[in-house]
């Protein structure tokens, strides 16, 4: 198997093991009753992770098992940029307010998804107005930006 595939197989088990460690580390000062079930679950999860790793790295794949399809470089970069835009939305939502965050995110996301800039701006503007009225109709307490909207 290709090295990138092998390394990829390690990502999820690594996240799980890190999560287990961080959880275990944080509950060391807790009372026994608060540790009881999490400790059982951590032992079980680590054991299953070891089994999964042994299977992924040492054993050959099952005959009917389809190989993992990894995205091409260009696709991966666009997805990463979209994820960055999503994290950016969280900060913009708190600092610039609901409407400006929507406008900025929609323009960026539309361009990343393949629309040209003029089309992206028109789509973003129209959608932002619709979301503004939707939030008002549903009585959501959305944050407002420094300009009062």
């Amino acid at each position: 198997m290709h090295l990138r595939h092998k390394l990829g197989e390690l990502i999820v088990p690594a996240i799980v093991l890190l999560g287990c460690f961080l959880y275990w580390w944080h509950i060391q000062d807790a009372r026994a009753v608060a540790q009881r079930v999490p400790n059982y679950v951590i032992i079980f999860t680590v054991a299953m992770t070891v089994l999964a790793l042994v299977r992924a790295l040492l054993l050959p794949p099952a005959p009917n098992e389809e190989p993992v399809e990894l995205p091409e470089r260009g696709v991966l970069l666009r997805r990463l940029a979209f994820v960055a835009a999503c994290f950016g939305y969280f900060f913009a939502f708190s600092w610039l307010g609901f409407n400006l965050a929507n406008l900025g995110f929609l323009v960026l996301a539309c361009v990343l998804a393949g629309l040209k800039l003029p089309g992206a701006v028109i789509t973003a503007l129209a959608s932002t107005i619709v979301f503004h009225f939707l939030a008002r109709a549903m009585d959501f307490r959305v944050p407002t930006g420094p300009f009062g909207f």
């Binding site: 996240i15 961080l22 959880y23 009372r31 299953m48 696709v75 995110f105 979301f131 959305v142």
Partner: protein
């Protein structure tokens, strides 16, 4: 136990034009809300609660039944078309519904879903009417040990969802339980694994996690595709496909009946909820199926099982709310609040003290089932066009909708970031073929599992978990559920040898 005169009075009260109008309005509102990912029925019911005080108690509660049933049925629309469950109960719908939509059979999937949903709601209503007064007494016998066993039964479904890579499924389920146990523990209030983040003190919020794992992760993957559907055109999924799907649902009689009855009884157990009901039904459908390999690729059997069970669970969960005063979900909690505000106090004496009101509520579920089959089908025709909208427009707009849905759950901007984190995790899990539903189910069952385990063992030690006859029966079902795939494999091998 059954008062025919009260039943007739209840039916008469329901047939008033104003009562029927409010069921219809409630259903339409619930349908609209359920079709938008993240905007759940409980939120809308809570917002409308003060307005229901202007109505008669019966009218108020049946309009809420309408919202509830409409949202449960419509939640399958985004689950099928976009892989985003409209309500938590529709998470299992994505397993078969979305692959069907991607294969250009969205109309067929929606017809199948609404056919199964209306049947599930109908069976649920029949069972609620027939068994409601009896089940109220039976549900009183469910203690912590029994609830723990039910949670374990739910987790055994994990094994059937990830049969090919068993350890991966169990690993991710274990991690899901651990994630669900973040926050203050119920016994000592120690903030476990919160690392000083106050927003996590109350535990892991379900809606942002659900929207991230199912919704945002799919949007990230869809970003570079032209449309959701790989095949088909707008014309190829018209009325004929929807009708074909609706008719197809009627062909799975045994599956429909088994899933609906299972879903109803899961709904009757306080706190179990429609997510567990639909996943259990999916697991059972897969175990009993002759072609297990077709599951996960758009198998009608799986979709029929999840959607009939989901709607039967929704009707079933009204029974403990009425007979015990125990709401099984946020939606039934709001219903309970509405009843109490109107001076109608649910409990074991409810069917004795408020007989006419009780039967009116139960009969209103039949009306809701009919609305799913009629109004649902009409609206599905419009909804299915979504799979042919270019992703360049759809992905950014739905992403903002999902952000808003995550925020609207608790009105906390933190939940948006949490959803993005779980969205990225969802992409990794999907890319490397880990069972996302197993992770989600574990997150839902984790707190139930822990609290009931601690309560049960504190009273009578570990042996108390298997002390009651109910626990023993559930334990047998757990063992059978785990052994069923093995037995099926052995039978198939024997048949091959004989053949």
């Amino acid at each position: 136990m059954y008062d025919v005169a009260a039943m007739i009075d209840g039916l008469h009260a329901l047939m008033q034009i104003n009562v029927l109008t409010f069921i219809f309005l409630g259903f339409a509102l619930g349908f609209f809300v359920g079709a938008i990912p993240g905007f759940n029925d409980a939120n809308v019911m809570a917002i409308l609660l003060p307005f229901t005080l202007l109505l008669e108690p019966t009218t108020a509660i049946v309009s809420m039944v309408g919202i509830y049933c409409g949202a449960q049925a419509a939640g399958s629309i985004p689950a099928i078309l976009m892989n985003i469950p409209g309500t938590p109960g529709n998470a299992a719908t994505t397993l078969e519904g979305y692959p069907m939509a991607r294969a250009g059979r969205s109309g067929f999937a929606l017809g199948l879903s609404f056919g199964a949903s209306s049947f599930g709601a109908l069976i649920g209503a029949c069972l609620a009417l027939a068994l409601g007064p009896i089940l109220g007494l039976f549900a009183l016998r469910f203690g912590p040990a029994e609830m723990f066993m039910i949670a374990v039964l739910g987790l055994t479904v994990v094994s059937t969802l990830s049969a090919e890579r068993f350890a991966n499924g169990l690993m991710i389920a274990g991690f899901g339980i651990l994630v669900s146990l973040i926050g203050a523990d119920s016994m000592s209030a120690f903030p476990r694994a919160t690392y000083g983040v106050p927003q996590l003190y109350d535990g892991m919020p379900l809606i942002p996690v659900l929207l991230g794992l199912f919704g945002l992760s799919e949007l990230i993957l869809l970003l570079t595709r032209r449309t959701i559907a790989d095949k088909g055109t707008g014309e190829s999924t018209g009325w004929a496909e929807i009708r074909a799907g609706f008719r197809e649902s009627a062909r799975h009689k045994v599956n429909l009946l088994r899933s609906s009855v299972l879903g109803f009884f899961v709904g009757v157990i306080p706190g179990a909820g429609s997510t567990i009901g639909s996943f259990l039904a999916y697991g059972q459908a897969k175990q009993w199926s002759r072609d297990r390999s077709a599951f996960g690729k758009g198998n009608p059997e799986g979709l029929v099982a999840t959607d009939s069970a989901n709607n039967a669970t929704a009707t079933g969960s009204v029974v403990p709310m009425l007979t015990l005063g125990l709401p099984g979900s946020a939606s039934t909690l709001v219903m309970l609040a509405a009843l109490v505000l109107h001076g109608v106090r649910p409990g074991p004496e409810f069917f004795h003290n408020f007989q006419v009101d009780a039967y009116t509520i139960l009969f209103s579920m039949f009306v809701a089932a009919a609305l799913i089959a009629s109004l649902g089908i009409l609206l599905a025709r419009v909804a299915q066009r979504i799979v042919f909208i270019p992703n360049a427009l759809l992905v950014p707009i739905v992403a903002v909708l999902v952000f808003t849905g995550a925020y609207a759950w608790r009105f906390m901007a933190f939940d948006i970031m949490l959803m993005v984190i779980f969205g990225v995790l969802g992409v990794l899990l999907k890319t490397y073929r880990y069972p996302v539903p197993a992770f989600m189910l574990a997150i839902i069952l984790g707190p139930l599992l822990e609290s009931n385990f601690l309560r049960a063992t504190r009273i009578g030690g570990v042996e108390s978990l298997l002390a009651s006859p109910i626990s023993k029966v559930v334990a047998v079902v757990i063992v059978l559920s785990l052994l069923a795939p093995l037995l099926q494999m052995l039978v198939a091998r024997l048949r091959t040898r004989r053949g």
